[in-house]
């Protein structure tokens, strides 16, 4: 019991520290690593709630696969060279105030529930609660429609990603056109001998 309580506070503190790290660390690479820490702490919390399958899925899918993808992207576009600096402005300065107001509201709300759950005995979970079999059964019965809708959503998201990211012949042509135009501009004043090199470079 005591061990569980200690573990809870360690995991909760870790989750909050990780979340703060994501927004406060300037270097995007460390920001992603803080997110990994946050997700691992969340998995621990799931474990304390007897949701072993969810905890494992959280570790494998989020902390594992998705975050590796994030790290790849950050490494690929070299985000580490450009620290994220928040832009100044009246609204940017007001932002923390609103965040603080929301935090106060939520604290009052959670405090208002008198944290009754902390004092009470741990809830009685039915045997097999949170097991893969039970989650699977729920997905195929009670939550069949949301499950199917979510799978359709993934298809749609893939289509959307293709729409935004696919190569466009027109755009490349526009780019090439621009390049030839530059070459032409260079060509007119310049000596023929240097043009070949210039236009070749522009291309």
């Amino acid at each position: 019991m005591l061990f569980e309580q200690v573990l809870f506070f360690v995991a909760a503190a870790g989750a909050i520290a990780g979340a703060l790290g994501v927004v406060m660390i300037q270097n995007p690479f460390y920001s992603v690593l803080a997110l990994v820490g946050h997700l691992v702490a969340l998995a621990l919390l799931f474990l304390l709630l007897r949701a072993e399958f969810l905890a494992a899925a959280q570790l494998v899918v989020y902390a594992g696969a998705v975050m590796v993808l994030y790290v790849f992207v950050v490494a690929y576009i070299g985000g580490a060279d450009e620290p994220l600096s928040p832009e100044g402005g009246a609204i940017a300065r007001l932002g923390p105030l609103f965040a603080l107001a929301l935090l106060l509201e939520l604290t009052i709300a959670v405090g208002g529930s008198e944290l009754a759950a902390l004092e009470s005995a741990p809830g009685t979970a039915a045997p097999g609660f949170g097991s893969p079999a039970q989650i699977g059964a729920l997905l195929l019965s009670k939550f069949l429609i949301p499950f199917e809708a979510a799978s359709f959503l993934l298809l749609v998201a893939a289509v959307g990603a293709v729409v935004l990211a696919r190569r466009r012949r027109g755009l490349e042509e526009a780019g090439a056109e621009g390049a030839t135009q530059v070459a032409r501009e260079v060509r007119e004043p310049a000596e023929p001998a240097t043009v070949a090199g210039a236009s070749g470079e522009a291309r």
Binding site: A133, L140, L144, F152, L153, V156, A157, G160
Partner: protein
Amino acid sequence: MSLIAQVQAPTVDFRGLSPLIALVVGANVVLLAGLLRGAGVQRVLVPLLAAVTLIVAGALSVAIWETGDVEPLVQSALAMDTLTLSMSLLFYLAGLATIALSLRSSAVGEAGAGEYYTLLLASISGMVVLAAAENLITLFVGLELLSIPLYVLCGSAVRERASLESGLKYLVIGSVGSATVLYGLALIYGATGQTDLGRIAAAIGEQVEVGDPLLLTGIALTASGLAFKASVAPFHQWTPDVYQGAPTPITAFMAVATKTAAFAVFLRLFDAALSTNQVEWGPALAALALATILIGNVGAIGQRSLKRLLAWSGVAQAGYLLAGVVVGTRLGLQATAFYLATYLVMNMAAFAVVIASERVSERGDDISSVEGLGARSPVLAWPLTIAMLGLAGFPATAGFMGKFYLIDAAVDGQYAWLGVTIVVGSMISLVYYLRVVAAMWMAPDAPPLAGPVRRMSPASGGSPEADPRAQPETVAVALVCAALTIAIGIFPSPLFDLAVQVGTSISGI
């Protein structure tokens, strides 16, 4: 093993699900048809298939409506009641109009016809799921299925900076809205221990106190998140920028269908599941409605871009609609459903004219592009005039009947001051609606622009023909919607009867 043996397959009522199945199948067929080569396929077959999908889904919805209510579907994940069916029909109509308006839009070519119309159909299916959601999980999945295709569609004119900016802005703000909704739903679940809307309604007052802080915070966060989607002030700041940057057919679709979906879920969640808490959320939403009406109408006054003007006007209209939710009565539900239908035809007429005129004008959607339109092409000027008068709430238009109904509901629900606010808001709105009308009929034809002529933007579609006959489908949408605006204004009773049937969908109010 024993557990697996216990699992009962849920009964799936395919009749009730048929509109959704038609939409999803249609979306996939459209996606595959888009892979075929040939200009005829891209320009004719794909939009035709998308339109057929919507018509089939609409016919199935009407058939379900005719044969009476179906029980909640698949262990109360969805409810195909009259509220869902009526809102679905509005989505299908908005979708059909959007397809017609998109036919010459360059955004279709940029995104690929198959992908563009698939995303449109997916967004509509998300709206149907959202409007039908009887369960917090279904509700959230529906919200995402609605939003994600729209983020992409907003940015689908990738050659235009404004479109990309619009898509990104909508993605960021929409995600914040979705996250807020999710947080709120989690707190409601935490307080009540239920995800079914019916059981939440039963639990409030029994297992959980009405004034439970966790429940109230959950309601507040859910309302804020939905207010993002419905562009209710003070969560409206994204609206003008996103509406202006998005391809105009998508703007029209968002202005009409997304708002309808957001209000459908407002009605179901607040008037059905959380009706016990009406004393708490009623005044809060009423304050939001007051702020929205004033901010939207005042914000619209200084706008020169017609799309921005319609965006601000949409904010104000969201305030009027919220008044029908606030009262939490059957009359309010009927009035909101009625106003959503009139809002659809009036806005579609206005956007159709804006699209037709921005395609041929070098001034884009600036208000000067419609100067002298009354003399140039009255076939476009009349629909926009009717739409503007309707949105302002002139008698003998649909907008007048809708506002009348909403004010009646507000007064009946002890919110008379909100009814007065609607009237005051409509008076302010005359300033900018009539400015557009005056520009069309009283201003001389705009002189050609001095200096370098704006290059015809890719969003303008084909060549700059100055003849409205060159785009008959756009003019047809404008004329049909304008005719409906007048028809509903003069003979409102058929739509009233439908609205009364919608009012029976939520019991206990």
